[in-house]
């Protein structure tokens, strides 16, 4: 029993430390992303699981994983947070760098990014900062191309491109 307790404690300590230094800005982004999945539907929503790929940030991936696991989504979709490594198909992809990983993504991937000008194709959701608050922009043309249905509640609080 004692060894089990120590193992659990170590697991918790390690999992916590993975995102202990994560910036508040990134935590807010993760919460936004979780909300995005709740207020939209996509063509492959019933495929199980949904892969949410994160580019080059393990701490963020750990935080988003625990965030998603702490709450069920209203759509019932099972969301798996994975690192973007080119080996897995990505329903969603969060991109923080403008590199070749974008080119390798499937054309059906729903992209979320901090970068206003991605190579190859635009993001559906682009974060930006305004007056110390995090905001986001929705590219409606790209959403339409991906046949996304975005809730009016989400559209109301977004900047529309």
């Amino acid at each position: 029993m004692r060894s089990l307790f120590i193992a659990v404690a170590l697991t918790l300590a390690v999992s916590h430390s993975a995102y202990a230094d994560l910036k508040k800005l990134d935590k807010v982004k993760a919460a936004y992303m979780f909300n995005f999945t709740k207020f939209m539907t996509w063509s492959s929503i019933n495929s199980d699981p949904v892969n949410f790929c994160v580019q080059n940030d393990e701490a963020f991936q750990q935080f988003l994983t625990q965030l998603v696991e702490s709450r069920p989504t209203s759509s019932g979709a099972s969301i798996r947070i994975v690192m973007l490594d080119g080996k897995q198909s990505c329903t969603f992809a969060y991109l923080i760098e403008n590199d070749d990983s974008l080119v390798n993504l499937a054309t059906s991937t729903i992209i979320i990014s901090d970068l206003p000008n991605l190579i190859d194709r635009p993001a559906v959701f682009t974060f930006y900062e305004e007056n110390n608050r995090l905001r986001f922009e929705i590219d409606l043309a790209e959403a339409e191309r991906l046949e996304l249905t975005i809730s009016s509640e989400l559209l109301k609080v977004a900047k529309i491109k």
Partner: protein
């Protein structure tokens, strides 16, 4: 008129619930879109820093009363004004009749966020009110009386019983101090020179009063707020009366238009009691001792249903502007009593 101010002060002692500070993934998962939009992303505002925050708000309020009601029926000024030689004096007609009542209040409010769940506040109203009159007293056929000054200062504490991404429960309790004058004087037809003015023209209650409020806020896709509030009064003031208690149930529904702008609409049901006791200085001799309806303590209080509409706007991250207007759709008053036409408010809230 004074009932309006007391009702207004009840709603003012409550604060906009601030989202509690988050740290863990599950706490961030609970945040609604509106809460996310409000989060300051500066690290200095992170969970490691002190949650203490000061807030400052200035609110401008205005209201107008015109016309009379007995229960839910309109009565004309001719019916309320007693005419010498043409009709008998009764308890429902008066030699002096207020016609239009206008009131304005500037309310300054300071708030302090003690911790994630507790907020303290103090508010001070500065009131100006003016009443037009007609009367059958020679020399006073038309006259205007006004009063202005500091009203009752209120202290309050708001506590979050629950606050998560889906809903919140806040309870507020306070103490209203008798800092507003109940000795305002003006030139009335009652006598030559200045005399004690009726209850409506006073600036305070003269008693220690207790504003309380319970508020439920739904933060889901359809955000709405339901608030139950009351102003409970105690004792008797130096002029031997106590204003009636007020109770109000209100609901508001929010429509976000953008990241910084939202519309809201709602309704409020209010009930207020008549005045207990009497200020004998504003009565006259004879069978009918009340020269105007507003000098009769029994002709106060009643029920009122208002519809409310407004807009909130955040032009910069530390400033929130809220404008609202409300209009009664039903009034059942202990009359003859002046009826409310409208009321409006404009609030500037600053957080730092």
């Amino acid at each position: 008129m004074r009932k309006f101010l007391r009702i207004a002060s009840v709603s003012l002692v409550s604060f906009t619930p601030a989202a509690l500070a988050q740290s863990t993934p599950s706490e961030f998962a609970e945040l609604s879109f509106q809460a996310l939009l409000d989060i300051d992303i500066n690290e200095s505002d992170s969970e490691q820093s002190s949650p203490n925050k000061w807030s400052f708000a200035v609110q401008l309020k205005a209201a107008e009363f015109d016309g009379y009601k007995v229960n839910d029926s309109d009565v004309s000024l001719d019916d309320v004004l007693f005419s010498f030689g043409q009709e008998a004096r009764t308890s429902s007609n008066f030699p002096v009749v207020p016609t239009v009542i206008k009131q304005h209040a500037k309310i300054v409010q300071l708030g302090y966020q003690v911790n994630e769940r507790l907020k303290l506040g103090i508010q001070a109203p500065f009131i100006h009110q003016q009443t037009d009159h007609i009367s059958v007293v020679p020399g006073y056929e038309h006259f205007v009386i006004s009063s202005s000054g500091l009203g009752d200062i209120a202290l309050s504490a708001s506590y979050a019983l629950e606050d998560n991404s889906e809903f919140s429960w806040w309870v507020t309790a306070g103490l209203s101090l008798p800092t507003g004058s109940i000795d305002e004087q003006g030139d009335t037809p009652r006598d030559a020179g200045d005399q004690q003015l009726p209850y409506t023209m006073q600036l305070g209650s003269g008693t220690y009063d207790f504003p309380i409020e319970v508020s439920y806020q739904n933060k889901g896709e359809h955000a709405f707020t339901v608030t139950l509030s009351a102003m409970l009064r105690t004792g008797t003031n130096d002029r031997n009366y106590r204003l009636g208690n007020n109770y109000k149930l209100s609901g508001k529904y929010n429509f976000p238009l953008s990241q910084s702008t939202a519309l809201f609409t709602g309704a409020a049901f209010g009930y207020s009691e008549s005045i207990h006791g009497q200020d004998d200085e504003i009565t006259i001799g004879g069978n009918y001792s009340y020269p105007a309806s507003i000098t009769n303590p029994n002709l106060y209080g009643g029920k009122r249903v208002n519809i409310i509409g407004g807009i909130s706007f955040i032009p910069i991250h530390w400033l929130k502007v809220v404008a609202d207007i409300s209009k009664p759709v039903y009034q059942n008053l202990n009359g003859p009593q002046p009826q409310e036409l409208w009321r409006a408010g404009l609030q500037f809230s600053m957080l730092y």
